[in-house]
């Protein structure tokens, strides 16, 4: 475990080397927040609620999901690049699990973005517009757990596609499609409350709701008490399913590499 935490720390430090990228990231996030909040404001046209959802809830939901989607950002072409330049085999020379290593490195990068990108943007957004406070302390803590689980769901989706590069020359196209689908169906830009009913019904059977929307609803108190636990177990179920798929694909891919020689 210590070894893997160390990977996260190193990646965090690694990111510190790129200070310009960090400043640009903040500027970018702030601009995005301003633009979208203007759009939402226009959509509300001064009304207190739309579909029973207040403007403050929408704004909060947007800021949190944008922040999380920034934090959940990592190099999704990593495995493909490693396979292309042949350095993937080097990874097997180390007595560490490559997949866990990758996870922890990505977590390190994510934490960097939370601290240096998300938090400054939240502070800015608080001054800029009125946001909702967490529903309760309990909800806030459960939400943090839910964020971690949501991260794993998203990370595993990405891993599954990354691992396909053992068979496909380029996974860039599939990855792009996945990202578009995730951005729409997980409610980053348009919170899922406002989706048409049919889509809402479909989304229930997909992992997308588990990524950002579950933590947000817990934060806002739309989900409370025992219902929170059932939402967390739904997230866990998706982690199980996606983790299983990724695991099978990964070991098949490694086998292809070491048995067939790439």
């Amino acid at each position: 475990m210590r070894t893997y935490v160390e990977f996260a720390i190193k990646k965090f430090q690694n990111k510190m080397a790129y200070r310009l990228e960090f400043f640009m990231g903040i500027v970018n996030t702030i601009i995005t927040i301003v633009v979208y909040l203007c759009i939402y404001k226009a959509l509300y046209e001064g009304k207190a609620e739309v579909d029973g959802i207040s403007y403050a809830m929408t704004a909060t939901s947007f800021v949190i999901s944008l922040g999380l989607s920034n934090a959940f950002h990592f190099n999704e072409m990593f495995i493909q690049d490693k396979i292309h330049d042949g350095s993937i085999t080097n990874e097997f020379l180390k007595p560490v699990n490559f997949v866990f290593r990758l996870l922890w490195e990505n977590i390190g990068e994510g934490l960097f973005r939370v601290v240096f990108n998300f938090l400054p943007a939240v502070v800015f957004a608080c001054f800029y517009t009125k946001l909702c406070a967490p529903y309760s302390m309990g909800n806030f803590i459960i939400m943090l757990i839910s964020v971690a689980l949501g991260y794993l769901v998203l990370w595993l989706l990405s891993l599954i596609i990354q691992v396909l590069s053992f068979w496909l020359f380029s996974v860039w196209g599939i990855m792009t499609i996945k990202n578009v689908i995730v951005n729409i169906l997980s409610g980053v830009f348009l919170p899922l409350w406002f989706m048409p009913d049919i889509i809402k019904k479909i989304i229930v059977f997909t992992p997308f709701e588990s990524i950002y929307f579950t933590p947000i609803r817990i934060y806002l108190g739309e989900v409370t008490g025992m219902e929170m636990l059932s939402k967390l177990s739904l997230q866990l179920m998706w982690i199980g399913i996606l983790g299983g798929m990724a695991g099978v694909l990964w070991s098949k891919g490694v086998k292809k590499l070491v048995v067939q020689g790439g």
């Binding site: 070894t3 160390e6 190193k10 085999t89 020379l93 007595p95 020689g261």
Partner: protein, 320 residues
């Protein structure tokens, strides 16, 4: 001394998809792909004793890296067996790799954005190296390889020679018993090469590390190795000491001929086939020759002759 490595009849063939030229041909190949079989390693066997230092040479594409990959557990042989220090590398990879150090000179394993020292620190956690051992090794290696000046620089800013030294240190910090170095001197200047040779020798002598390394530089071999394995087109063509190979090919004479117009030419003769007196006779009948000098075969020349097929190798020249 007991064997640390036992390699028996390993083979590794690659299936290479044939690229068809032209639109229809490439469309057809989607359905009916043609493959070419490349025999990268074709029935190689050898044994290596604990504490030995062995040079692995051969032309480009001879199968050196493929062999090293199989020995380090990241590639399955198609057939044959590898047994190293009680492990079957490709089957017990996770356990096995704790005991070895590997450097692929053409591919760095260091963290591009981090200062060198941070990559070393990471090794401490990856291999769970005790603090004391880590600090001792680091101090010693940094001194031996003269790395104080650039150890705090990010790897992306290092020169090739500096980076290579970094890679070697990173692979040895956990004091592995067995080390594979695939072209550790590639692209380095004479001074850097010398440093690395000294270091390899030091590790072998003082830490009893068993070392296998590949190179295209015969100086590396002459200065560092006791033993030499030559492979060609996936087959082992020589396995023995350097002294033996020089001895074995003492029948091969290189004669430098200087012509009257001042031009020089190197001629190779096998005195087992043509005795020296006949060689001389032949040369003296050529009128335009001004001078000749007979050179003892240098290891460089012998190896070149082997690569170029000027020296025929048969079963009894395999050094076994």
């Amino acid at each position: 001394m007991e064997n640390i490595i036992e390699v028996k009849n390993i083979k590794r063939y690659y299936k290479i998809a044939k690229e068809e030229k032209g639109f229809w041909a490439s469309l057809k190949s989607l359905v009916n792909k043609k493959y070419e079989i490349k025999k990268a390693v074709d029935d190689i066997s050898f044994e290596i004793k604990k504490g030995e230092i062995t040079g692995f040479i051969g032309k480009n594409g001879a199968g050196k890296s493929t062999t090293i990959k199989m020995l380090s557990g990241i590639l399955y042989p198609d057939s044959g067996t590898v047994k190293i220090d009680g492990y079957i590398p490709y089957k017990q990879r996770k356990q096995y790799v704790k005991n070895i150090g590997v450097v692929f000179g053409q591919k760095s394993q260091l963290h591009w954005d981090l200062p060198l020292i941070e990559s070393f620190e990471l090794m401490k956690y990856i291999y769970k190296i005790p603090k004391k051992v880590y600090e001792e090794n680091l101090k010693k290696f940094v001194e031996l390889l003269d790395m104080e000046d650039f150890i705090n620089q990010p790897v992306r800013q290092l020169s090739l020679g500096q980076r290579m030294r970094g890679d070697i240190v990173a692979a040895l910090l956990h004091s592995p018993k067995l080390v594979f170095l695939d072209e550790p001197t590639i692209g380095l200047d004479v001074v850097a090469k010398e440093k690395i040779r000294e270091f390899i020798k030091y590790m072998n002598k003082n830490e009893q590390t068993t070392i296998i390394f590949t190179t295209h530089d015969m100086q590396d071999i002459e200065k560092v190795c006791e033993r030499l394995i030559i492979i060609d087109q996936g087959k082992k063509v020589y396995d023995g000491t350097i002294a033996e190979i020089k001895n074995k090919y003492s029948n091969i004479k290189n004669i430098e001929v200087m012509y009257e117009d001042g031009s020089k030419e190197m001629k190779t003769f096998d005195i087992n086939k043509i005795p020296m007196n006949q060689v001389m006779e032949k040369l003296f009948t050529e009128e335009s020759i001004k001078d000749i000098s007979i050179c003892e075969p240098e290891i460089d020349g012998i190896i070149r002759d082997i690569y170029e097929g000027k020296i025929e190798l048969n079963a009894d020249t395999k050094g076994e």
